[in-house]
């Protein structure tokens, strides 16, 4: 902590009002496999120091490239030079006041990960998928990290972490595929075979799809697409999105938006994104964002919370509050207990026509199936969901008991999600 404390103290000495210095060191690897073979390995050694400075409401964000005192002194000089050419942020209300006590979050660091043999896991996953599929591709990623934060308001915080992420997509033909991910902070809870098996089975079942039909459907969303929908919902709950009109949850505070409970939890045991503290050093916590259908709070940092006369939810981002791990609770039951509908195992390319109104479309990919009397029947292809996010949320009927921790391209915030049963989902298809 010597260097980051030095930077903080020098900035205060030279007249800064608020200072946060954040250091992170991460060693990570990735093994990428393509068509059942390893295509590449990646190894990264990364060390970053970021510096936030506020003076008379002028806010500066910068980084220190070379971690030594000489570079730090030069950087501090440049911060004050740069400050003169900026404008104040009239909305800024300061950073959190510490000190705080931090509790260990269970299952967020496992030294066994350091010595694991990634290649064996990749091989095991490929073999599981190939029981049903002809080829598979994906990645296995491992990360070991440490984070340290000091602030001018008496905060000193540190955390160390390990993380594992696995993604596999299996194919039987070019248009028959299945996809699943797995993630964990500890080695003993990390399993590649169930994800690989699921991907392979969906790839097998989704052969010979027929063109889907447009219309309104009752849809079962598996874990991957459910996580994407919940990610966009939680993004919309950030006060930054609300103030920027990038949110369909504008003016919805204390209003009913569905029949579920949506939670953000930064201190979730084994949560892939769990960390002891947010970007201001506030201890992370469990926040009920939507309580039995009522939107109770937006995600806040200290400054936005003061502005909106509430308390921080420990979701800083200095500028834009972000969620940590998303959880959903609600009306549990058998989501397959329907007479007729569609089962969608993945979606991608979600784009909005109007963020404030929540109008969007997204494309189902991998296995899509017709459901008849609770059973998976004919696979379909080439369809699109064209909907309003508010209608999707309103129409969540049942959620499955079993949950799965998901991270993906479009679900960048880890989501511990059940499967969802949503009624009245509009499906469209190409006209030519």
């Amino acid at each position: 902590m010597n260097l980051i404390n030095y930077i903080k103290n020098q900035l205060i000495k030279k007249g800064a009002d608020d200072v946060i210095v954040y250091q992170s060191n991460h060693d990570s690897t990735q093994v990428k496999f393509v068509n059942n073979k390893i295509a590449k390995t990646e190894t990264h050694l990364t060390s970053d120091i970021s510096i936030f400075t506020a003076k008379s409401k002028h806010l500066i964000s910068t980084n220190l490239k070379d971690p030594n005192k000489k570079s730090a002194d030069e950087k501090i000089k440049n911060i004050f030079k740069f400050l003169k050419h900026t404008q104040p942020n009239k909305d800024y209300e300061g950073i959190a006041k510490g000190p705080f006590k931090y509790k260990e979050i269970p299952e967020t660091y496992d030294k066994n990960i350091l010595d694991m043999n990634e290649i064996d896991y990749v091989e095991k996953g490929i073999n599981s998928a190939l029981k049903n599929a002809k080829r598979c591709s994906g990645v296995l990623e491992k990360e070991i990290g440490s984070n340290q934060l000091v602030s001018s308001n008496g905060i000193e915080a540190e955390d160390k972490s390990t993380a594992l992420y696995y993604s596999i997509r299996a194919f039987t033909t070019k248009e028959a595929s299945g996809h699943m991910t797995a993630c964990s902070r500890t080695l003993n809870k990390f399993e590649v075979s169930p994800a690989a098996k699921f991907a392979g089975e969906i790839a097998k079942k989704s052969q010979k799809p027929k063109q889907g039909k447009s219309g309104k459907y009752t849809v079962i969303f598996d874990h991957l697409p459910a996580a994407v929908l919940l990610n966009y919902t939680m993004d919309a709950a950030s006060i930054f999105s609300v103030e920027s009109h990038l949110s369909f949850l504008i003016n919805k505070l204390n209003k009913k938006i569905g029949n579920f409970t949506l939670i953000d939890q930064g201190n979730l045991p084994n949560g892939l994104n769990s960390l002891k503290f947010d970007a201001e050093g506030v201890p992370t916590q469990k926040n009920i964002i939507v309580d039995k259908g009522i939107l109770k709070t937006y995600l806040h940092n200290t400054s936005s919370a003061k502005r909106h006369k509430t308390k921080t939810t420990a979701n800083a981002g200095i500028i834009s509050p972000q969620s940590w791990n998303i959880l959903l609770e609600g009306n549990q039951g058998n989501v397959f207990d329907i007479k007729k509908g569609l089962y969608i195992t993945n979606i991608w390319y979600t784009r909005f026509q109007n963020y404030a109104e929540g109008n969007f479309s997204t494309i189902p990919r991998d296995g899509i199936f017709e459901i008849e009397n609770g059973e998976i029947k004919q696979p379909v292809k080439n369809i699109r969901i064209t909907e309003s996010m508010l209608d999707i949320l309103k129409n969540i009927q049942i959620i499955s008991k079993e949950t799965h921790q998901v991270k993906s391209w479009e679900a960048s915030t880890t989501t511990i999600t059940p499967k969802l049963l949503v009624k009245e989902v509009r499906i469209t298809k190409p006209t030519v």
């Binding site: 060693d27 295509a39 290649i119 990645v139 596999i168 109008n359 494309i363 990919r365 190409p430």
Partner: protein, 466 residues
């Protein structure tokens, strides 16, 4: 930049038994700010540098990165990477590279008005002045950044390239809310140049004109016509369509399945070269050498000379985008399409500036002989499936065409169409080629890379709106 570290890297890897090694040393200096509803949220400046290292050992590809630039850290990173890569040999897909001519060159993109010739307050003023004129809008979000990047690339085959490129980026997102209804608009501006870009961008004029038109659309827009009609897609819509379904499916790594797990594959396969999927007037190129373009480069991130590629020629599938490992699978040389958006990601096959070539007609001539149609000037929502076949573009500023004339505004016309359906319906191409900047996403981890997407106005005959 201490280029000796890159030279040290490839020698160290050779000593350790690598049959091929390359090092890409990068240094980026940037300035940025974010403005929300007239308030300067934060201003930033920073430097980032690091080393991206690729090597082959027993035909297995290893990639390593480090941002603490000293020899001990580099050696530690390489040793860790070699250990993992050697373990991967037992399951490896053997990687080989096409034979390419070694290059030795220094080049840079000239700045007429240097990025550092203005301080942050001058850059801020330009955007604050625009914001003041939009105060009546309920949501205004702007972001600005400029970056001066230096790259040094070297490999064990004798190539060494020094490259300097300045890039300026501006993004806006606006919300117009009137009478309990809203319409939104965002656009990205980007260029590889100094601050002279502002002269060509004319931000204030363009944004104010757009806002005026969108307000009219919000309040007076009618529903789009039903049944088969003709569509004139303006350059912004042509550009996104060409990028999504005229560029992505031609990436050879998709075709060979290397990006299957996330970015997806392609409806095109190797045997489809020469197959007609569009009309004679459709020719799509990818060209990194367009001066001052957002996707500009003269040598790619494998050190291969860049050139214009004809992806679709007169409606026929003509050529794929290649790097050194995909090209050798088709017994070809690379056409210089390997790019990485930073030192810490591997170079993969990417578009640069992808656009449809213009024709000779004026846009007005495309409109003149339409009895009933829609003119779509720009768009908001769009998406495409992961084999690049089923795509959707939803118009934002759009107008009815009746008896050859532009009439009242139309709300959110939807083109939902297959790729052959789209390109086969184009019967005329105007002469008004325009480019639009974007950041294209691909790879795992995701890398957003600067590109131009463009084309002229095009006419689609007999298309049913979605």
């Amino acid at each position: 930049m201490n280029i000796d570290l890159a030279d040290f890297t490839i020698k160290y890897l050779e000593k350790k038994g690598a049959s091929y090694a390359e090092a890409r040393l990068e240094h980026h200096n940037s300035n940025s700010f974010v403005l929300k509803n007239g308030n300067v949220e934060v201003s930033g400046f920073g430097t980032a540098s690091g080393l991206g290292i690729r090597f082959l050992i027993k035909n297995t590809l290893g990639f390593a990165t480090v941002n603490k630039l000293d020899k001990e850290e580099i050696k530690k990173t390489i040793d860790n990477s070699l250990k993992l890569t050697k373990r991967a040999v037992k399951l490896t897909e053997k990687t080989t590279f096409s034979v390419e001519k070694p290059i030795k060159i220094d080049y840079k993109v000239k700045q007429k008005i240097k990025l550092d010739s203005q301080d942050q307050s001058e850059k801020l003023k330009l955007i604050l002045d625009i914001d003041k004129k939009l105060k009546q809008l309920s949501g205004r979000y702007f972001s600005y950044s400029d970056t001066l990047s230096n790259k040094y690339f070297t490999n064990t085959e004798g190539t060494s390239i020094n490259f300097e490129i300045p890039r300026v980026n501006f993004f806006y997102f606006l919300t117009i809310r009137e009478n309990n209804r809203s319409i939104q608009r965002y656009l990205n501006y980007g260029q590889s140049s100094g601050l002279e870009c502002h002269k060509t961008w004319q931000l204030e004029k363009n944004i104010l004109e757009e806002v005026k038109a969108l307000k009219i659309n919000l309040n007076k827009g009618i529903s789009p016509p039903k049944g088969k009609i003709d569509i004139v897609a303006a350059p912004e819509v042509t550009g996104i369509a060409v990028h999504e379904s005229g560029g992505h499916p031609y990436e050879a790594d998709r075709i060979f399945g290397r990006e299957a797990a996330q970015a997806g594959e392609s409806f095109i396969n190797q045997d489809m070269i020469g197959k007609k999927i569009g009309s004679d007037v459709v020719t799509v190129v990818d060209d990194p050498t367009v001066e001052n373009s957002y996707g500009f480069y003269l040598y790619d991130d494998e050190g291969v000379k860049a050139k214009r590629k004809f992806l679709m020629k007169n409606g026929k599938i003509n050529e794929f985008l290649h790097n050194r490992s995909s090209s050798i699978q088709m017994h070809l040389n690379s056409n210089g399409s390997a790019r990485a958006n930073n030192f810490n990601v591997e170079p993969i096959i990417r578009m640069s500036n992808t656009f449809m070539l213009p024709g000779t007609m004026k846009e007005q001539e495309l409109i003149e002989d339409i009895r009933l149609g829609v003119y779509i000037k720009n768009f908001m929502e769009w998406n495409i499936d992961d084999v690049r076949m089923n795509q959707k573009y939803v118009g934002n500023e759009a107008y009815l065409i009746k008896n050859g004339k532009i009439e009242q505004p139309v709300k959110s016309p939807v083109i939902e169409i297959t790729t052959p359906g789209l390109y086969s319906s184009v019967d005329a191409v105007a002469n008004n080629l325009k480019y639009f900047a974007g950041n294209c996403g691909k790879g795992e981890p995701m890398q957003g890379i600067p590109v131009f997407m463009g084309g002229p106005s095009i006419r689609l005959r007999g298309v049913k709106l979605g």
